[in-house]
């Protein structure tokens, strides 16, 4: 369904002394999502997860320069085709109700999303009703304003808005942040249902627990680079191959808050060789060479020491 190959995103920015600096929030991102599959994109804040979503939707700011390839159903996405696919074939499930117009009623906004996906008035009204019914939202919720819905209901409203247009690829941006465990689980189970209906789901999150329980595969992102693409169960099975993936997993509370000193490279640092070089406990001389993402076992890893 979606295949991202060696995506990089650069911004040019004017610094203090009127010097133009180039920052690379996304350096080398690759991943693919098949039909009926949930691929979780995990990584710390500032690793470029949200920019990936914006790049796929064609919503990067004007001063962004991208290279690499994004294929949707086998055809490369251009800015024109992205504009045509937004809302119709590719939909965003945003993070919170802040993404809804605060002065417009919820029902209108779901209906509008459905209209924008190319439906006529009557069909759009029907699919709005269906979306409300699917997520057990009462008819009365339609006349509420975004600030009146809370917690779990907000999640369902946002999912309803994104699915009112029958898109094939859904991008869920942090769907569990700030929710209590019960509501978070419910939100994830909605994504699972959508995947089981044959849709492709990109689950952007830093909740690794959530990613591991609901996703089929996980892409681990570090400083705008895919370091590992692996089946989700490899996390619990201890079969992770990249040292950063292991560090991420070991940092969870139930694994004892394992800690690796250092920070991910800044967006304006130039990096040659392994992106994780200066923090990696297993580094050797070989790590100074460029590291391609290569297939190892059932996944892909960007580490020269990884073995199948």
């Amino acid at each position: 369904m979606l295949s991202v190959k060696n995506l990089s995103i650069e911004f040019s920015r004017y610094g203090s002394a009127r010097r133009r600096t180039i920052i690379h929030p996304v350096r080398d991102l690759s991943l693919d999502i098949g039909d009926g599959e949930i691929v979780a994109v995990v990584g710390s804040s500032g690793s470029g997860k949200s920019l990936l979503a914006h790049a796929v939707l064609g919503l990067l700011p004007g001063n962004a320069r991208t290279s690499g390839e994004i294929l949707f159903k086998g055809t490369p996405l251009t800015s024109a085709s992205m504009a045509a696919l937004r809302g119709r074939a590719i939909a965003l499930i945003p993070q919170s109700v802040a993404y809804l117009n605060p002065l417009s009623r919820v029902g209108r906004q779901v209906y509008r999303a459905s209209r924008l996906s190319g439906k006529c008035r009557a069909t759009a009204a029907r699919s709005t009703d269906r979306a409300f019914a699917r997520y057990r939202l009462d008819e009365s919720v339609k006349s509420l304003f975004p600030f009146q819905v809370s917690g779990g209901m907000a999640r369902r409203v946002l999912t309803a808005t994104a699915t009112a247009g029958d898109a094939d690829l859904l991008i869920a941006d942090e769907p569990t942040t700030g929710l209590d465990p019960v509501v978070a689980r419910q939100s994830l189970s909605h994504l699972r249902e959508l995947a089981d209906l044959g849709k492709a789901v990109m689950l952007i999150t830093h909740d690794i627990d959530a990613a591991v329980t609901v996703a089929d595969r996980v892409a681990v992102i570090y400083a705008g680079t895919t370091v590992e693409l692996t089946p989700a169960r490899n996390f619990a099975d201890g079969a992770l191959r990249h040292p950063y993936s292991r560090a991420l997993w070991n940092a969870l509370p139930q694994q004892g808050f394992g800690f690796v000193p250092g920070n991910q490279p800044m967006e304006d640092d130039a990096v040659n060789g392994c992106i994780y070089l200066d923090r990696c406990p297993d580094r050797t001389g070989e790590c100074r060479c460029a590291q391609p993402l290569r297939p190892v076992g059932k996944g892909h890893v960007r580490c020269c020491h990884a073995q199948g």
Partner: protein, 331 residues
């Protein structure tokens, strides 16, 4: 309307009383300390022909020999009974003068207010939606230039161009010479209104356009705009369906809250165009030492500005569902 609760009314009335008493005290103090002498203002150039004895009788009759606090209390007592006194230069009760003049000014202020509000809002939304485009540059240049233009100078330029050179518009007043306001036709009145209203609104446009532009840029970069774009909404669609509504709210309230500036602007514009409104009456009352009229107008303008702010407050509560429903649910 649920937004207007009893406590809201009480608070507003309390504030109004406080403002009016402070304004009247301050105005009365300033007038008492000023070199304005009501007697010579009243007598004018006949001053030389009046004996000291006669002058003394006028002073006693008006109570000018009594101390200022006492005079203030007498005046304030009369004001409370609705009697603002007699205007010396118009020879009519102050309330009548203010009433008549305000109606004339109202035409001017209302048209300038509407024109600047609508035009400024539209320009601001266009500029903010197409940030960095040629349209935005032109609108910004216009706004910055006009925002730093004094309104009386603008009025003079317009007069020079449209009335003197082109002869399209009348050079002064609210009606043709010799025609009383009651006999003037609607067209005559509008014809005389064009230039002063244009002066006031051209300058008012700048502020509201810049404010709206800023708010529109915020709205177009907001999270809800991003989600709308992600749903396939076009730039114009996001502007129309999402930004405009969110920007209109602060713009409407700002426009009501700016009634004070409008009032100040009309004083200058009316002076330039000899437009016989409240602003011109203010200047005349000041120059010719008409103390009762001056105090009356001061009180009236305080009331006027207060009303504008009050309407802005109420509108916010009525128009914004977050406040309207929020207060309902809080009960």
């Amino acid at each position: 309307m649920h937004a207007i609760s009893a406590s809201f009314c009480m608070a507003k009335i309390g504030r109004l009383v406080l403002i009016l008493s402070l304004v009247s005290t301050l105005a009365f103090t300033l007038v008492s300390l000023s070199p304005v002498d009501p007697v010579s203002a009243y007598i004018g150039i006949d001053r030389m022909q009046i004996s000291t004895e006669q002058e003394q009788r006028i002073i006693e009759r008006w109570g000018l020999d009594r101390p200022a606090p006492e005079r203030f209390l007498i005046w304030a007592g009369n004001v409370l009974r609705g009697d603002l006194g007699q205007s010396m230069i118009f020879n009519e009760p102050v309330t009548t003068v203010i009433g008549k003049r305000f109606v004339t000014s109202l035409w001017l202020m209302a048209s300038a207010w509407l024109l600047s509000g609508v035009l400024g809002f539209v320009l601001g939304v266009v500029a903010g939606t197409n940030r960095g485009s040629p349209a935005d540059r032109v609108i910004r240049l216009y706004s910055y230039t006009l925002a730093s233009t004094p309104s009386f100078w603008m009025g003079l330029v317009l007069l020079a161009v449209f009335s003197v050179s082109l002869g399209l518009t009348p050079i002064c007043c609210a009606t043709p010479p010799g025609v009383s306001p009651d006999d003037a036709t609607l067209w005559q009145r509008l014809h005389h209104l064009i230039l002063p209203a244009a002066t006031l609104s051209l300058i008012g446009v700048a502020q509201i356009a810049l404010h709206t532009r800023e708010k529109t840029i915020d709205a177009m970069n907001s999270e809800y705009a991003l989600f709308a774009f992600a749903q396939g909404e076009s730039r114009a669609g996001v502007a129309w369906r999402h930004a405009v509504r969110n920007v209109a709210l602060p713009a409407v309230t700002l426009q009501f809250a700016s009634l004070g500036e409008l009032f100040g602007g009309s004083v200058l514009a009316e002076q330039v165009f000899s437009y016989p409104g409240l602003g011109k009456a203010t200047v005349e009352a000041g120059i010719r030492g008409d103390v009762p009229l001056l105090l009356g107008i001061t009180l009236f303008s305080a009331l006027f500005v207060f009303t504008g702010n009050l309407v802005a407050d109420i509108l916010y509560g009525v128009l914004d569902p977050r406040i309207r429903i929020g207060t309902e649910e809080a009960k």
